[in-house]
């Protein structure tokens, strides 16, 4: 794999330890109860410092995407770069697997579920595939 890899920081370490353990971790403010992303040790809505990490459901829906037709190291075109809206609210960028990278197969709002792809000793990336069965 030639993908550029994330380098975790103290504030994001829980997220990347989570993906390595097969968990999509988000944070929730204990004061205003909103869930947010990307990781921060404080709430970006109310500024509160009491926040908690929790394991998200891993489910979401396809919010938007592009299908890239140009070559990039580690990727074979055409491939989708997508933004998923998680069931818990936040959105994140990802790639889609187990589904053709075509406009016909990729319908906005289609239900997705997370899968974790180990790309190095330290890093597993959260990717998404069409959700099977009930949402």
């Amino acid at each position: 794999m030639d993908r550029p890899l994330p380098v975790p920081t103290p504030e994001t370490r829980h997220f990347w330890e989570g993906t390595l353990a097969g968990e999509l971790r988000l944070q929730r403010c204990l004061d205003c109860e909103r869930t947010y992303f990307p990781p921060r040790p404080f709430c970006p809505w109310c500024g509160g410092r009491r926040v908690a990490v929790f394991a998200a459901s891993g489910r979401g829906r396809l919010y938007s995407y592009v299908i890239h037709h140009r070559p990039v190291p580690g990727f074979t075109p055409p491939y989708a770069i997508a933004v998923v809206e998680l069931a818990e609210g936040p959105r994140l960028m990802t790639n889609l697997v187990d589904v053709p990278a075509t406009p016909e197969a990729l319908r906005l709002d289609m239900p997705l579920e997370v899968v974790f792809e180990r790309v190095s000793e330290e890093i597993a990336l959260p990717l998404f595939r069409p959700a099977g069965g009930e949402q």
């Binding site: 994001t12 990307p38 933004v83």
Partner: protein, 380 residues
Amino acid sequence: MSRVPVAVVGAAETERLGRVPEASQLQLHADAALRALADASLTPRDVDGVATAGESPVAIAHYLGLTPTWFDGTAVGGCSFMVHVRHAVAALREGLCSTVLVTHGESGRSQVGRARPARPPSSLAGQFEAPFGVAGPSTLFTLPALRYMHAYGVSEAQLAMVAVVQREWAAKNPRAYARDPLTVDDVLASRMIAWPFRKLMCCLVTDGGGALVLVAGDRARDFPQRPVWILGSGEGVETPLVSQMEDFTSSKAFRVSGRLAFDRAGIGPAEVDHLMIYDAFAHLPLYGLEDLGFVGRGEAAAFVGERHTAPGGKLPLNTNGGGLSYTHTGMYGMFALQESVRQLRGTAAAQVPDVRVSVAHGVGGMFAASGTVVMTNQEP
């Protein structure tokens, strides 16, 4: 409260645009600066305020031999120059300086002396966007578009129409890079970059630069060119990560910046005769038309399709041809400002009759920031 009026009294682009490998990025800034100063019958020695992006204001001040008492290096991408104008107005009114030079220069195509902003692997972008096969603006800036198209039933052909109409304006402009007429089919058949975006829906990549000179008060009438008065301006930010835009059908930065500009100018969209909306990609003008309040939500594609922004239309838009057909060095905002100034002076290649108020609206990064300047040629 009565505020001292501020005007653009000098404006110029680099002599050449497009492919200019014989000039470093720094020299493109300087070439534009000297030409803008000459346009105002000034020399660098007359400048005591400088604002720039792409190079540090220290570098520009040194290279041009300036000793500024005010400087601004706000670097938020392509709209930085709109933000510089806004900040310059405040500085001039506060008496921090008396003659401001705003410069842009970029060797976007030839890459001569160009420093590229990095997204290190430990940054939020490096962790949460870079690993997913992104390859610059064509895979990031374009990401919200499908959601917009889905929400409002906008087709790929309608998206293509933005490029077609802007090419009509470019055809009238000898300095435009791409001037041959386009059809919707031509745009849809061009090389696929990041579906739904084909090459002709994406901006050019060129070399070039531009600069402005601003002064305050009655002095603005003492220059060779007709003053272009700054009626109002705005600035806004949202996020450095396009995936984190609150709403993929609208830019918070655009809304904040536009509202500030119109409120300060004391006018609304109906008073605008001429409009520039930074068009790095074909969907940008659609977002701008809606977020600035020129049309209602979801109405921009039909507005363009009905030729209201085309030659002869009621709201001439991107009359130089835009980033899609005129030039796009990387941070195009200065060129939008230049065309607004020309239209208000009556010196544009595709001059629109009776332009009294022009708005130049820019985006920075991938919907990360915005700046808006409302200008007039009418006496304050």
